[in-house]
Symmetry: C2
Subunit: 465 residues, 2 copies
């Protein structure tokens, strides 16, 4: 395995394939196969998102993949934003289609014509829907699995509200949801308000959840958008209020993608490979028997496996005879299984197991009678270790600078004073080759702009994926 | 609600939309929206399939939607079978693509190039994968939601084996899986071996799971295919056996689609609307309080709801104030909720509920202390009622005939003696306007062909969807 620290990007590309998260040999550029292990990880992340949004009253639904050119040809800046990036279906069988069909790049144009049919009165609001689908972008930039794909695993929530106040409450709710999801994935982040020129096409404003990776680049793992009435006016989504007056709805969206997987890989992995947070690890405990000369470990291993399973954990017994325990240790460490359970003659005779957390590698003896409590505790400790380490890394890589020169020579998420004007951001971007992430929402400092010295607030700049 | 018996097709089209299983107003032909209620039903059916195939060691994975023309242009009858029915992506942004990309009509051409990379030795076999995705067919026939869509909700399992014997065992396992799945959906079926000219393109033979709907037409709810080495030879999927000899794998597939939903709707529904099998009903119990003059039913209703939920059931309390209990009864009956729980003052005072199964409408008093046992029993009775009724209908609609004349005037699945030659099937099809479903696998009668009088076996013919 190549070294992580020195070769972030290469390490990433290698480990996701070695660990079977993805197979990049599929013959179409930017589209990858998810083999069972990778698919399971993605599904478990989806499961966390589902259970979180369901608890806030969201309902899952499914809209078609194909969007006709007519649906997309609303005179609206939203559409222009995607014009150059859409895959077009132009033929059915050997005949040209009457109207070209786009593969969804995102689903506003698929959903909102239906919203305008479904929403009649204020009693239909709020409407809170989501879907988990694949979306398609004709990326011309270099693709990278889970980060910049042409086929994207995508969660998108769409809401409609009686007024801006209610849709602002929704924006706050999204922040709660992101917090809970990220907690389970052990991912810290900052919330940046994207500058005007980088907001979602058609939105009033966009907030992005950004984290810094060990390489010093930032990665956007989710975005929420306040649409106000912008889309409602274009797709004619109106309701009658209690007095019978016709009003436009206010709307919001929340998007997350396979980038959550990329963040998990980048943030927690080490030179040995992945370290998966227990909440989403396809295998949480792998049992490796260590065969000795006289002892048959089969029945004790099976007993331990059944017990761990009975606590509701995902457990795998690796009793392959063709491989040594040492080989298995390396293999499962590389795949990021959070805990190894070693079982040798001593363990079987003494009715205990040896538990080895993936992050520390420190062996611990656990009596079988204490198993349930001990495993629950071990999970909670590992979970909190991963979060602490990630927060420390974020903090180490958040660099305060006072002038452009220092921004240029620093690596990480650069915090500097910026007046908010595009010309100053352009200048900073140009001189430092960093991108403006916008104003962090939970940072209320004040100062003067590093370019023009006008009154300014702290902003983040970084290299991005 | 229009009458079911007299207007099968119209009743179907109306009820699936009235019950919110689907919204057909989406602007692209043959592609429908699944609103939350319909999506949930589809997900629950998927869940049953998943849990069943997982228990047989299948692993879920995900292959890309897009298949390049090169991948499809293998010299092989399989490809020809789909030539006229594929949607083609020909543009990325405003530029033509270098190679046209097909939306998957089925995934052999997406998966098997990867299988040929993944499979090296006999220890890699059997390989048992599946995915649940949407597939696309440019249908030129009349479309009908869940039955003939251009966007199809699709389960596809693909396996690879060391030899034909092992892949024949897989075919038998598929039959077990279909049996368990159909049991939960209360769907009887017969297994027909499709005639040569109607087998899956590229397969050695195809078995179809066919049921007869009340309208007398048959509906294919699943198919399994024996590929033998046909695909392996075209996609070069080889392995080394224990002696190091290179051999082609043998393959099978199993497909099921949204047609399972269509079958549930058609088979169990009545003039009032849907009747959903408890295993897949999005709401299994709906509680309808019947407000009286003096009694507040809120706390008792909530208590009953929590109890039913604690047993692991999906329950909904309909406490909308704007609607009468009678309106709610009709509404939930139309949507097919298998059980209504009525709660009035008498119930609250007496600490009991009144349970009303959707199929019989017969009220039954159940003490709260007996709830768990009584509900479990009620579910099992309803489940078995639905299955019995469906089996009776299948049996009533299976018609034995001795000559073509009788076949012409009968409605249902027509059982007649056929010699197996295409010319005789053609003649039967032409004169009766029925389609040949093939030989039922569990029917071992003998006789002479209704056309040519040569030795024959019983075959099924019917109108199809």
């Amino acid at each position: 395995m190549i070294n992580k620290k020195n070769t972030g990007g290469e390490w990433y590309n290698e480990i996701i394939e070695a660990a079977s998260l993805v197979d990049k040999r599929y013959p179409v550029k930017g589209m990858n196969v998810l083999p069972p292990y990778g698919f399971k990880l993605v599904s478990l992340v989806d499961g966390i998102i589902r259970s979180e949004v369901n608890s806030y009253g969201f309902q899952e639904s499914m809209f078609p993949l194909l969007i006709s050119r007519d649906q997309l040809s609303v005179e609206f800046e939203h559409v222009k934003g995607f014009e150059g990036q859409v895959f077009w279906v132009t033929k059915g069988g050997i005949e040209p289609l009457e109207v070209d069909l786009a593969l969804r790049p995102t689903s506003e144009a698929a959903m909102y014509p239906m919203f305008s049919l479904w929403i009649r009165a204020h009693t239909d609001l709020p409407l809170k829907l989501y879907q988990i689908v694949t979306t398609y972008r004709y990326e011309t930039k270099h693709t990278r699995a889970f980060i910049r794909d042409r086929e994207i695993h995508f969660f998108e929530a769409h809401t409609a509200h009686v007024d801006l106040e209610d849709s602002e409450k929704q924006m706050a709710e999204y922040r709660q949801i992101m917090k809970s999801v990220a907690q389970k994935l052990c991912l810290p982040y900052v919330i940046n308000r994207r500058p005007e020129w980088d907001k979602f096409p058609g939105s009033q404003y966009s907030l992005a959840f950004d984290l810094i990776l060990p390489s010093g680049r930032s990665l956007q793992i989710g975005t929420i958008h306040q649409y106000g009435e912008n889309f409602a006016r274009n797709y004619e989504i109106q309701y009658s209020d209690a007095d019978g007056e016709r009003k436009f709805v206010n709307q919001t969206t929340y998007g997350m993608s396979g980038r959550l997987v990329a963040a998990i890989v980048f943030m927690h992995g080490d030179d040995k490979g992945l370290i998966l947070p227990p909440a989403v690890a396809p295998i949480q405990f792998v049992i490796v028997p260590i065969p000795g000369e006289k002892k048959d470990l089969g029945s004790f291993s099976a007993k331990v496996k059944n017990q761990i399973e009975s606590f509701g954990y995902r457990v795998h017994l690796d009793d392959r005879e063709a491989y040594t325990p040492g080989f298995k240790y390396n293999d499962w460490e590389m795949r990021g299984v959070p805990f190894r359970v070693e079982i040798g003659a001593r363990e079987a005779d003494g009715n205990f197991i040896t538990l080895v957390p993936r992050n520390t590698g420190k062996r611990k003896k656990i009596e079988v009678r204490d198993l349930q409590e001990a495993l629950a505790k071990a999970i909670s400790v590992l979970q909190s270790d991963l979060m602490s380490a990630a927060m420390k890394m974020m903090s180490d890589l958040t660099i305060n600078v006072n002038d452009i020169k220092n921004a240029k020579t620093s690596t990480g998420m650069i915090r500097l004073m910026w007046c908010g004007r595009k010309e100053c951001a352009d200048k900073i971007e140009e001189e430092t080759e960093l991108s403006c992430l916008g104003y962090p929402q939970d940072d209320h400092g004040e100062g003067s702009c590093v370019v023009c010295s006008l009154p300014a607030k702290p902003a983040y700049f970084s290299r991005t994926y």
